[in-house]
Point group: C2
Chain length 206, copies 2
């Protein structure tokens, strides 16, 4: 019996800045070795510590615009004056290979993806409180105070998006939040839509 | 800030006989200490090794009928000539206390529960193949051959119910199946419906 190759699942993770979203997503790639962490294109400046191709694909505004014009983005959004986008070709290729993809993107981009109704789940990561988020942001040395305050205000606006996501995870203790995100991914593979072919196979076997 | 007590979640697990459903459910009560494993009432004879109050509440047909007449069952079904039922009062009390309940019941009973639209999930456990199920059943010394063959035929009929469950878990390796059931329970706690009050709290705090 030849098995049909199943398309991978797409897990979209959003969160206000400072919530630990990227750390969580990176942890998933260690837990699920087949999981592909999608690297966004961005027009923002490369900061000290940023690595091109690992953290982002750093792209000039002109190049980014050309990619938009050629419909090469699955989603793109402008955040704090910079553009961020996800390459359609890469994600579609990995999913077609049967591997899952994790996308670490903001609510604007996530909404564009949601319309495509791809199999997977939308996860929003929350800080335990606004006070804690403020404290975490103030530990970021690479950011100016004005930026920080701006982000805290915007964090509240972003959190208002949380209501339409499938799953909400509070990142209070990192280990617990990791377990929850891991559970969401694992449970995604057990969903009826994904497993019903297996029932067909069992019931029609010889 | 006083927190509202959240109602527990109800996890309904069904599977053909010999699939390892009860072992899986019991394992969950060790992993989640607050999880309540609901003990069914049954009119079937107590077998060697069966413990009243641990495996089942062994009940006379007369008593069972009185419980039906008093609407004391959340669901009940007749399987192989014996009746099985879940006490409504116990389940409702535990859920109201904020604890989860796991119900290990057949498809007929599960359908009755589904109509109540309680928060939780429906999980169907499948054998890796019919051959494997047959092999497992033939190792059961407590059963006669005729019963076994009867059950295998009925297993196929029961598996046709799998299509409406939320999650399907294949019990090939017990450890893997346990991880999946654990993930379904954990993910259930992260669902938007369950967590959206937390977003309200964060966004309206001070």
């Amino acid at each position: 019996m030849t098995k049909k190759m199943k398309q991978g699942l797409l897990f979209v993770v959003s969160a206000p800045s400072g919530t630990g979203k990227t750390t969580l997503c990176r942890a998933m790639t260690r837990i699920f070795p087949g999981l592909h962490y999608s690297i966004s294109h961005t027009t923002r400046q490369q900061r000290p510590g940023d690595e091109d191709g690992r953290d982002y694909h750093f792209t000039s505004p002109q190049e980014f615009q050309q990619m938009i014009d050629r419909s090469e983005f699955m989603e793109w959004a402008e955040i704090y004056g910079h553009r961020y986008g996800t390459s359609r070709a890469v994600v579609e290729k990995v999913l077609a290979e049967g591997r899952d993809v994790i996308l670490d993107i903001d609510g604007q981009g996530a909404k564009q993806i949601r319309e495509k109704k791809l199999p997977g789940a939308f996860i929003f990561v929350l800080p335990p409180s606004l006070e804690e988020l403020e404290r975490r942001l103030s530990n970021r040395r690479t950011e100016r105070k004005a930026d920080r305050e701006d982000r805290l205000g915007k964090a509240k606006a972003e959190m208002a998006e949380a209501y339409w996501y499938d799953y909400l995870i509070v990142n209070d203790e990192l280990e617990k939040a990791q377990e929850q995100l891991q559970a969401v991914i694992l449970a995604g593979h057990c969903r009826r839509e994904r497993m019903s072919e297996f029932v067909d196979e069992i019931l029609t076997a010889k």
